[in-house]
């Protein structure tokens, strides 16, 4: 594409600007009020990424001056309505845009106050990542809990807690750790896979775009780096094929007499030409003959592509039907339970009737029961509630007049969500997330990471009993270092020693991982982050089973290693980081696979140590630097017994 456009642009054209091959989209939601420093934070992200224009800045400077503010009020940038500027508050969601060479960002800037919960839910519904601000002086307050709970309920996969105003607590490490403990304790009860805490000062710029020099004790990345590198592609459901038919294309001309295409946006899974599919609710079967995408015919389609699917057989398919795989279907149901956020003054009551719009199907619905109302800080449930009022969130049971093809929201944010519309006023009155389907769950449950509703099943056999009965003690030892630094050699030697002494130990090697579990990943920064995450998750499970897991993985970025540690810490498992600190000259001299040579010759790119950075651990549990293999093994075993 870029080359094509550049031919038109001539020799001095900005060809690079058109090269958007490595640029994806991250949607983030922020919640909070001016007092939290939310606007200052957004203002700084926009300003430092040059997304604020000179005339906009001049304008808000002038308005601030005229109002007699002692500072430039960056909130004026996002608070776009007259009423918001007059009252100095955010009422409705505002959307802001900025881009770095790695990513394009859409910020849904939402109000923080409880009475605008519905607006927060609106902004959160499409977000990949949520930023919650905590004032370092005040710590975790009611409002922070509510924001985190809403992020969790809406299944935003990544939560970043920015502990702001660190400058006002003397950049105290102890204060940050207190807040981190509070957040972790609270987050453990939420269903958020990835929680990251960053100590910042939005006003002074600490750890927003640039790493702060005031907090050398903080080893993680600044906020913008985290936003640029967090891996979001894996959050989509690529397992369950779900294609809600939106529009039937039938050209009325002779050239396309027999053309019949089903247009829609892929809601889950990967559709491929030749796949056998089932059309629901009718249950008729056919095969995909062809898929037309925005750029022409394609072999496969995945979320969020808008495509047109042609089937081999002439079937009766219309808007509102869902195309799925024969052995992996959504539930076809007329009753289900859902979490609902209520968005209007007139309360939701048992027996009330509404319209449900779910994917491309709109049906009549009746509230069979209000199961409970949830206290918005997430702490408690009120089972005796029979109504939901404006900004309430609760669980309700709905029955609908004709079948819907639903998944649980935990499994698919598109086929698990719906809106409620009041037929009398045409207003959107509620946002719903399917929690459970009557008559059993979906026929196939393949995705353990997002398994619906069920809290992790602890089973009767807990870790203590398991380890006690087997006489084992699981842990993970994480070997990081440059390619050819000797990680695998040392890990193998440790493994052999442990097994010889009767301790179950198992080595997970970065290269081997690439052949199986991570066979679908490339070598970009995102893919590396994902590879590390997968290794960490697998290691955690094996460690929990009682095995000493020896992971040997270059894992060049500190943020990814920190997350691996967090994954273990979250499950109270020992994690020993071993930095195999071999100088690059020595690694290059060894180079058993000739990879350094290839990287230097430019035959491969993105090679750690040559044209991609390695961030050494600041405080590894063990540092191996020039020891013999035997000495290294002893150091690792000593650290392991201390852990």
């Amino acid at each position: 594409m870029a080359a094509q456009a550049s031919t038109n642009g001539g020799p001095d054209g900005g060809g690079l600007l058109l090269d958007d091959q490595h640029d994806d989209l991250l949607r983030l939601a922020t919640a909070g009020s001016v007092d939290d420093g939310k606007s200052t934070l957004i203002g700084r992200l926009l300003y430092d990424s040059k997304a604020i224009f000179a005339d906009q800045l001049e304008h808000i400077e002038e308005v601030s001056r005229r109002r007699g503010d002692g500072y430039v009020d960056l909130a004026l940038l996002t608070d776009g309505l007259r009423a918001e500027r007059e009252q100095g508050i955010t009422i409705d969601v505002a959307y802001r845009f900025f881009a770095t060479p790695r990513r394009t960002f859409i910020i849904a800037d939402t109000p923080g106050h409880e009475r605008y919960t519905r607006n927060m839910v609106t902004g959160a519904s499409t977000a990949d990542l949520s930023i919650v601000l905590v004032d370092a002086r005040k710590g975790v307050v009611e409002q922070s809990r509510r924001h985190a709970f809403i992020a969790s309920l809406l299944r935003i996969p990544h939560l970043v807690v920015c502990v702001n105003k660190m400058d006002l607590v003397d950049y105290s490490r102890r204060r940050f750790q207190q807040i981190e403990d509070e957040v972790r304790a609270f987050a453990a009860r939420l269903e958020v896979a990835d929680v990251t805490l960053i100590p910042i000062s939005a006003l002074k710029g600490d750890n927003v775009v640039e790493r702060s020099t005031n907090m050398p004790w903080y080893e993680g990345p600044p906020l913008l780096y985290h936003l640029e590198h967090v891996h979001v592609a894996a959050d989509r459901n690529l397992v369950d094929v779900r294609f809600p038919v939106q529009y039937v294309i039938r050209p009325r001309d002779a050239a396309h007499h027999d053309f019949r295409g089903y247009a829609g946006q892929v809601a889950g899974g990967v559709l491929r030409a030749g796949d056998e599919v089932i059309v629901l609710p009718a249950g008729t079967r056919s095969r995909i003959a062809a898929i037309d995408g925005p750029e022409g015919e394609v072999d496969q389609a995945f979320p969020p592509m808008s495509v047109t699917v042609r089937l081999e057989d002439e079937l009766d398919v219309s808007r509102g039907d869902v195309i799925a795989r024969v052995h992996n279907q959504p539930a076809v149901t007329t009753s289900f339970e859902a979490h609902v956020c209520w968005m209007t003054e007139r309360p939701l009551q048992e027996g009330n009737r509404y319209l449900v719009k779910h994917t491309t199907r709109t049906v009549r619905a009746r509230v069979a029961e209000v199961v409970h109302r949830i206290e918005i800080n997430g702490a408690s449930r009120h089972g005796d509630a029979t109504e939901l009022h404006l900004n309430d969130i609760g669980k309700v049971s709905l029955s609908v007049a004709s079948p819907l093809m639903v998944d649980t929201y935990a499994r698919n944010r598109i086929t698990g969500s719906f809106i409620l519309v009041d037929e009398a006023t045409n207003e959107t009155v509620g946002a719903g997330m399917v929690a459970a389907v009557d008559g059993g769950a979906s026929p196939v449950e393949l995705d353990p990471k997002r398994s619906p509703d069920v809290v992790w099943d602890e089973g009767k056999l807990n870790r203590e009993r398991r380890w006690g009965a087997l006489g084992v003690q699981g842990a993970t030892v994480w070997f990081t270092g440059l390619p050819s630094s000797g990680k695998s050699t040392i890990a193998a030697a440790v493994e052999a020693r442990l097994v010889a002494s009767g301790v179950p130990a198992y080595r997970i090697d970065g290269d081997n991982l690439r052949h199986g579990l991570s066979g679908d990943l490339g070598f970009g920064a995102d893919a590396r982050a994902e590879n590390v995450r997968r290794a960490a998750e697998v290691a955690k499970l094996m460690a929990d089973s009682g095995t000493v897991v020896l992971v040997s993985l270059v894992s060049p970025y500190a943020v990814d290693r920190d997350r691996a540690r967090a994954i273990h810490a979250g499950d109270d498992l020992a994690f020993v980081e071993v930095f195999v600190d071999t100088p690059i000259e020595e690694c290059e001299r060894r180079d058993p696979k000739g990879l350094y040579a290839k990287a230097r010759a430019g035959e491969i790119s993105g090679f750690t140590g040559v044209d991609d950075p390695y961030e050494p651990p600041r405080k590894p549990d063990v540092r191996i630097s020039g020891e013999t293999v035997e000495e290294a093994v002893e150091k690792v075993l000593a650290a392991l017994s201390r852990s």
Binding site: A233, P251, A255, P294, S417
Partner: protein
């Protein structure tokens, strides 16, 4: 295969989803087409949404009569190529029929009069949905706008009572006489629009590229010398190499000095600019701090 879309392709698919949704749920949509860059992209996306069938709704141009001739020529040709019906709603006719009163003086503009012409045409043709090319990054009132935005029977926007918009579920239900405005490019930025035009190799009117033109300076902006603008004392026409960042009424659209004659160089200029398109080229937004919010409340684009 990593199953990832670039951000431009993500925006493209989302916009197509919105366009199809409206075509499926509303009976009489119309696409507002001015011949400007945003509506060019919008029309192209509508074409992609329904091909190989034709676009199942007409396009409409609200014509102030004060147009750049290059744009009108382009408009007619593009509509012809796609085989869609073009409706021209004329501000001059609204003036002749006494629906609006022409402003007078050197700063007279037909910009605000367009609202009446637009609402009259929507009512006359019975349209229940109107696609527009407006983007949230253009202006701060627009940053608050929904993708599918409700208008009451008077065509008015009430920014404090907007329908919540969740996931990709749009509520376009209305009563008779009301309509929805639909903005499929809501999440696109000016740079996205240009990059998309470059990637898709879309034709745009020649005034978007640098050309020699007789201009004069007013309030720090360069305006084209045309029969629609009176010069006041001290304003001297001169020739300059300029291009347009936005296309509107000749009386209120400013040009920027530029030597960019290709899509690539235009993209490079837009990527480097430090001033917003409306701040640099639109007199209509300089009336007051809430100029756009006020016009939008009345039913403006």
């Amino acid at each position: 295969m990593n199953y990832e879309l670039t951000h431009l392709r993500t925006l493209e698919s989302e916009a197509i989803h919105v366009i199809r949704e409206v075509a499926a749920e509303r009976e009489h949509p119309v696409l507002l087409f001015s011949g400007g860059k945003d509506s060019i992209v919008l029309l192209h996306l509508a074409h992609k949404a329904f091909r190989p069938a034709r676009i199942p709704f007409p396009v409409m141009h609200v014509d102030t009569g004060h147009n750049f001739p290059e744009v009108i020529e382009f408009r007619d040709r593009r509509v012809e190529e796609l085989g869609v019906d073009l409706i021209v709603a004329s501000v001059q006719e609204s003036i002749d029929r006494g629906r609006v009163v022409e402003e007078t003086g050197p700063r007279a503009s037909r910009n605000r009069l367009q609202t009446v012409t637009l609402l009259d045409a929507i009512a006359e043709h019975g349209f229940d949905a109107a696609f527009g090319g407006a983007r949230r990054d253009e202006e701060r009132a627009r940053a608050k706008e929904r993708v599918m935005s409700f208008r009451d029977e008077h065509g008015q926007w009430d920014p404090k009572a907007q329908r919540p918009e969740l996931w990709n579920l749009y509520n376009g239900r209305i009563r008779r006489g009301e309509h929805v405005r639909v903005f499929p490019l809501s999440n696109w930025t000016e740079l996205d629009v240009w990059r998309y035009i470059a990637v898709e190799q879309l034709e745009v009117p020649s005034i978007y590229f640098a050309h020699a033109r007789q201009v004069f300076r007013r309030d720090g902006m360069l305006y084209a010398v045309s029969p629609y603008v009176e010069l006041v004392e001290g304003e001297q026409p001169f020739e300059a190499s300029v291009r347009y960042r936005t296309v509107g009424d000749m009386s209120c659209t400013g040009a920027v000095e530029s030597s960019a004659r290709t899509l690539d160089t235009v993209v490079a200029e837009i990527a480097a600019t430090r001033i917003t398109e409306r701040g640099e080229t639109r007199a209509d937004d300089r009336v007051s701090e809430a100029a756009m919010e006020d016009r939008k409340r009345e039913g403006y684009f």
